[in-house]
Symmetry: C2
Subunit: 226 residues, 2 copies
DNA sequence: GAGGTTTTCGCCTATTAGGCGAAAACCTCT
DNA sequence: AGAGGTTTTCGCCTAATAGGCGAAAACCTC
């Protein structure tokens, strides 16, 4: 039971890690998580371990990533770990235990087991889902400017995008919608930014390709079954 | 350790099931699989169980799907099952044990545990991957006509598609390429079909959306890290 | 009010998907 | 051999979506 907890901080994608006290990998940094008890279901076990590192109400999205047999541990003992992805909005700053800290995903410290690899895998999943779903809602506050949204998308995707195009595409897909509020123009000078919100804060996917769609249908979002 | 083994037979998507002898769910149909032994890795355990139902050399593609805590079993005992997807080409007819049979995925018999739900989930995954990867290679023989490919895609996607469009899109993406052979025109009368092959028989993904791509890049297939 | 900054909008182009009908290349039957 | 039927393939057009770029809008400070 492991979770890669992602949050965009200062324009870069970060992941939450805690420093292991005990062997194996004492002193290395590991993903939040822990063993599954004998009578527990997957979800409740993850929640229990996650809650010991970060406030669960700060986690806006949770998704199962993959299950691995841990290879670097004691070879006599087989260990299975199921990894999840958890997303935290930029406007939160959860208080975390003293042995726990945020690290930028492209400057990870030495990690225990294959946890660095799990983070890479989770990041790829996040990157893909940002482009064909509305998961973005879990990474930004309820209302936000296009500029804010852009830095979040850029941090996750790892390359520059234009706010013009981001706004157009997301509006056309009806993933975001304008509010009539604007950002109080107190800050840095410049035209006050309009504020937007996500149309729906549950996971929706756009049909990934128009290709092979049944005839007479135009691309729309569809609800995903959990 | 479970596997949803998919094959297109007679133009319909089928899944391999075996009839459970013992309780719980005695007499119900279940996915191939079995318990993980104490010292085993995930992959080898799956291979071992799968081999007892179908020749492993017939499985052209294998991918992890999801892990669930089995809810319908004895509640005192926690059971974790990791499900995989396995794909078999249409030109094969593996011999299977007498307690094992193929069922069309939309006419499943009463299944043990949540196995019907796993098949649905696997089918969704297959459907999605057909549209943005080249997994199709695992479902058809080495060379094939566009008409053959079309029936396979239609069976998996669950709706009609035109061979014209299928051919164009797959050629443009360089997922398939023409061979200079044509189908021996022995069969039903009509122009002999040209034979095609998949350009690459390892998993490649097309960038799911042009959207948010870094500038100056045109959509290309990229290798997926396993 | 001038000059600077940031956001927003409009117009154009590029790329990819989809429809449809004509032509090509085979068959069988007379 | 030719007529008629069948299936595949190709060309041409339209539709939908993504991307670039510059002008205009709406604020700031000086």
């Amino acid at each position: 039971m492991l979770a890669a907890v992602f949050q965009v901080r200062d324009g870069r994608l970060h992941s939450l890690l805690w420093r292991r006290a005990r062997e194996p990998f004492g002193g290395f940094w590991a993903l939040p998580g822990g063993p599954l008890s004998d009578v527990e279901r997957l979800g409740s076990s993850l929640g229990r371990h996650l809650a010991s590192k970060v406030d669960l109400t700060d986690v806006a999205y949770l998704e199962q990533l993959e299950t691995r047999s841990d290879v670097e541990r004691d070879p006599r003992e087989r260990t299975i770990a199921t990894a999840y992805i958890a997303l935290v909005s930029t406007d939160l700053n959860p208080s975390v235990p003293s042995d726990t800290a945020w690290f930028a995903v492209d400057e990870l410290p030495p990690t225990a087991f294959d946890h660095a690899s799990i983070i890479r895998s989770g990041r790829e999943r996040l990157r893909a889902k940002l482009t064909y779903t509305n998961v973005g809602y879990a990474l930004v506050p309820g209302v936000f400017s296009i500029a804010e949204l852009r830095t979040v998308y850029e941090a996750c995707l790892g390359h520059a995008i234009t706010s013009t195009n981001l706004q157009r595409v997301l509006l056309r897909r009806e993933i975001i919608e304008p509010t009539n509020a604007v950002l109080s123009p107190s800050s840095s000078g410049g035209r006050p930014a309009a504020l937007y919100r996500f149309t729906d804060r549950t996971l929706l996917v756009t049909d990934p390709f128009a290709m092979f769609r049944p005839p007479n249908r135009t691309a729309k979002m569809t609800k995903i079954s959990p």
